[in-house]
Every structure is written in C-alpha cells, then in structure tokens.
C-alpha cells in the first residue's frame, strides 16, 4: 500500500528506474575497475 502523505514528485518511478539503470552501469564499471586493480595487485 502507498499512502502518499508526502509528495514524491512527478514521475517518481520513472526517475528511479532510470537511476537504477545508471547505478547498474556505475556498479558494473566500478567492479571492472576493482577486478583490474586486484589483478595488478596479485602480480
């Protein structure tokens, strides 16, 4: 149930869907960076 006692703002869900996509890309590149770092650390 969603009781809307605060105004979540226009297009609240769309904003968060786009944001979630951005965050996934962000997390993906962060993980790649960490893996590369870890690879060189091992060497």
């Amino acid at each position: 149930m969603f009781s809307m006692y605060i105004d979540p703002g226009t297009g609240m869900i769309i904003v968060q869907m786009v944001l979630a996509a951005f965050v996934s890309v962000f997390v993906f590149f962060k993980n790649v960076r960490e893996k590369i770092k870890a690879f060189f650390r091992k060497k």
């Binding site: 149930m1 969603f2 009781s3 809307m4 006692y5 605060i6 105004d7 979540p8 703002g9 226009t10 297009g11 609240m12 869900i13 769309i14 904003v15 968060q16 869907m17 786009v18 944001l19 979630a20 951005f22 965050v23 996934s24 962000f26 997390v27």
Partner: protein, 456 residues
C-alpha cells in the same frame, strides 16, 4: 499539549504531559505498526540505538481512532539540521540510509526521509519517528527519494562543494532545498561528478520533463528490491565520501593558536575554572562561544551532567563534534548558534519548528569565555548581553576582556572617538544589578578577568 510540529503525518502525533513524551498511533497506521513490532524490526533498530525505544501505555484512555499510546524516550536537546555541522548532517543521512536498508530486510520501507526524523543522543544520531515505517511488498520505488535528495543530498553537496554554511538554507526551505535551486547553485564542474549528476541533475531533469501522463503511467511500473538496494548502496557510498573543504575558518584554529601564543593564559584559565567550580555541580551548562569545546569538556568532565557547546563557526562545531565522537564523550553536544541572529521559529504559523531558545533548556551554569568584545563589536548593548546571562538559573562563569587587550585593539582600531567600551568598573556595576560576584581573578599574561557569578 500536542506538539505543534506533529501534524503532517496522519499516522499519529506527539503529545507532552508532565515532562513526558507520548506518541499517539492512529488506527490508520495499525497494520504497519503491528508489522514493525512483530517482524523484529523495532527490536533490531532499538537494540542498536538506531531508533528511539518506547513502551506501550495501557493506562491512558484512547479515542476511537487511536490504536496505541506509546511512552517515548525523551531526547534532549532537540536540534534541527540548520544547527548542525557538516558531519552531523552527514551522520544523520547515513543513519537514514542504514535504517532504510534494514527495513527492506524486514519487508518495510521508510515513508519519509527528513533530518527532522533524526536527533542526537550521546553525540550519535538516533531516529525518532516510530511511525515512519511502512510495509512494502512488490514495488520498492522509494517514495521519499526526492525528499531525501532535497533534505540531505542537496544540502550536503552544497556544503561540500560550495560552502559549509549553506545548510542555513533549510531555515527558508522547511521541506528541503528545491532541486531547481540546488541545480542553480552547483557549478558545471560539480554537476559532472557521477553521483551529483545522477541524484541531483538527472533527477531534476527527469522530474521536470515528466508530465502528468507519465505520472499515471508510472503507477503500473515497479522498482525491484535489488534495484532499490543498489540505489541505497550507491547513495551510502556517495554520502560516505562527501567531505568539507579544508578551508581556514575564522575560529577553527583559535584555541591551538592561543595555546601556542599564550600558554600561561590558557593553563591559568583552566586552573581558575577548576578552582572556581570546586564542589559545585550543575545539571545543564551552556558554553556560549565554546570554540572547539575544550572548556566544555573540562566542565562536563567534573562539574556538569550535560554541556551544550554553542558557537557561531561551523568549523568549531565540526571539530567539537569530531573530538567528542572520537573520544566517546557523550555529555558535550555542539550546536551552531549565531547569538546575533539565532535560528527562529519556522513552519506553519511559526510553530512547527520552534526557535532555538525553546529547545535548549534552562541552564544552571552559563559560561562565556572571551566573547563579550565580539558581542560589543556586533553593536549589541552590553546590558542585552547581561540579560542573556540572566537566563542562567544559578551561576555564570564570565571572562571580561578589557579594551587594552590585543584582540580588542585589533577589533576596535577603526572605531571613532565616540565609541565607548565598558570599563571594568562600569561592567561590574551592571553585573551587580542581577548577580553577586562570588570570585574573580585576573588571568596570567593578560588583563582579562574571570568572574564566577551567582544570580541574585
């Protein structure tokens, strides 16, 4: 008496009776309250001191639409985000995110995310709104995401990238700094930071381009649990990395500079404070112009149960808070306060958030070390300053700074011939109207005088 600021959420409200705090839970909120209590979430949050604890009160009578009455732990003092330093607001934001993550584990979510839901107890943030929790099942879209951005992310970003005093904007914007304004204030370079871009720029852009049809359409779309947790984790990482510019403030290094310049003066002041206060015990002390809280800690250590360190400078409050948290000092709490323009009453009918003097109690000791010349420099009559000291119900520790003092010479050198600074004799005459001078001593290396006063 009903809390005049407790009306926005229809789930319940706060009342005060005989110095006790009660939270009324309306029947409207029954399902969510029962889930909070039965799922183990309440116990988990209260155990870690993340959420204020309560007891269900079965003695008080309830109206038809009331489900429960809770005896809530009282928090003192109540402070607001525009009275906090950067790290205090940051810690409040991080607690909100930690709690949101914990809520998801228990099938709940926060339905609002405002710093007014957070207070500080023992120098650690604590969530005070027991009715902010709502059950969540399929759609994990975070309803207060915009509120979180306007109340926490925006102010913290402005404080970090622009100026740490910008949390004062929250006095004007009780519901948070609007996204369009945040976007106007941030520079192009600031907006290129990935997190700023996502949460403030893109968020604003998407909100302003979404029209009513997309709002309706949005109700059929959902956000998954994993997607939501990714957003919260990213927010945590962003907030954790935020820091304030390491700029030199007017007062931030004052104490250490003074210690190196006038070692005997500082040592003698501490010895004198200890000798004046020996055998005295206080419940509440206001240390006005506390700097980094050095003397607040001296007093809190032996003489006072609780000390509120009040200072105009954000860097002093920041340093004070960090020292206290690092040393686990729980009875010295720093608050930002500009004496010449204290935080006013704001919100609906000017009653929703009360002014600072209504929230910081009635002290039985007021300390004012070396601030009278700054008050005079603000053109505040010395008699007004003494009126402020009269707010003490017992004692006052006061440092008189004569015009011959090097600091005064520097501050007042450009004043004209008609400028009059209170002499020691005139100052004492004024004090005598309201106080008895119990002790006085001229401090080493200076002509400054420390007084211990007792209210008549």
């Amino acid at each position: 008496m009903r809390d005049p600021g407790s009306f926005r959420d229809p789930s319940g409200f706060i009342i005060y009776e005989n110095d006790k705090v009660y939270r009324i839970v309306n029947k409207l909120y029954q399902k969510h309250y029962d889930h909070l209590m039965n799922s183990g979430l309440y116990e988990c949050l209260a155990k870690d001191n993340w959420l204020v604890s309560h007891l269900e009160n079965n003695d008080k009578s309830r109206t038809q639409d009331q489900y429960r009455i809770l005896d809530v732990q009282k928090i003192f003092p109540i402070t607001y985000p525009y009275e906090w330093s950067f790290s205090q607001l940051k810690d409040a934001a991080l607690l909100t995110l930690d709690i949101q993550k914990k809520c998801i584990e228990y099938g709940m979510t926060l339905k609002d995310a405002t710093p007014y839901n957070i207070q500080f107890r023992d120098n650690a943030p604590i969530f005070i709104d027991t009715l902010s929790f709502e059950m969540v099942e399929n759609n994990f879209a975070w309803k207060p995401y915009r509120q979180f951005c306007e109340m926490f992310i925006g102010p913290l970003s402005l404080m970090s990238y622009k100026d740490p005093r910008l949390n004062k904007l929250l006095i004007s914007f009780i519901n948070g700094i609007p996204l369009p304004l945040i976007n106007k204030l941030l520079s192009f370079r600031d907006k290129l930071r990935p997190s700023v871009f996502m949460h403030l720029v893109l968020h604003h852009w998407l909100s302003s381009t979404s029209n009513e049809s997309s709002k309706k359409e949005g109700t059929t779309k959902t956000i998954g649990k994993k997607q939501h947790l990714n957003i919260i984790t990213q927010l945590q990482s962003f907030v954790t990395k935020l820091a304030v510019l390491n700029e030199k403030s007017e007062w931030g290094d004052y104490n250490s500079e003074t210690i190196s310049e006038k070692k005997n003066y500082v040592e003698d002041k501490e010895v004198t404070i200890n000798s004046f206060l020996q055998g005295l015990h206080f419940d509440l002390t206001w240390d006005i112009g506390s700097n980094d809280g050095y003397y607040s800690r001296v007093i809190a250590n032996t003489y006072s149960k609780e000390v509120l360190s009040l200072d105009i400078d954000w860097k002093c409050v920041e340093k004070n808070y960090k020292i206290n948290t690092k040393k686990s000092i729980t009875n010295v709490f720093p608050i930002l306060l500009d004496l010449s323009n204290p935080p006013p009453s704001i919100g609906w009918m000017n009653k929703e958030r009360s002014n600072i003097y209504e929230r910081i109690g009635s002290p039985d000791l007021i300390c004012c070390f070396a601030i009278m010349h700054h008050i005079i420099n603000d053109n505040i009559p010395i008699s007004y300053f003494i009126d402020l000291l009269c707010r003490s119900t017992g004692h006052v520790l006061l440092e008189y700074v004569p015009i011959s003092d090097p600091k005064c010479q520097k501050i007042f050198k450009s004043r004209g011939d008609d400028f009059e600074y209170p002499s020691k004799e005139y100052f004492e005459e004024l004090l005598h109207k309201n106080f008895a001078i119990l002790k006085s001593k001229t401090l080493d290396e200076t002509e400054r005088i420390l007084y211990l006063l007792k209210k008549k």
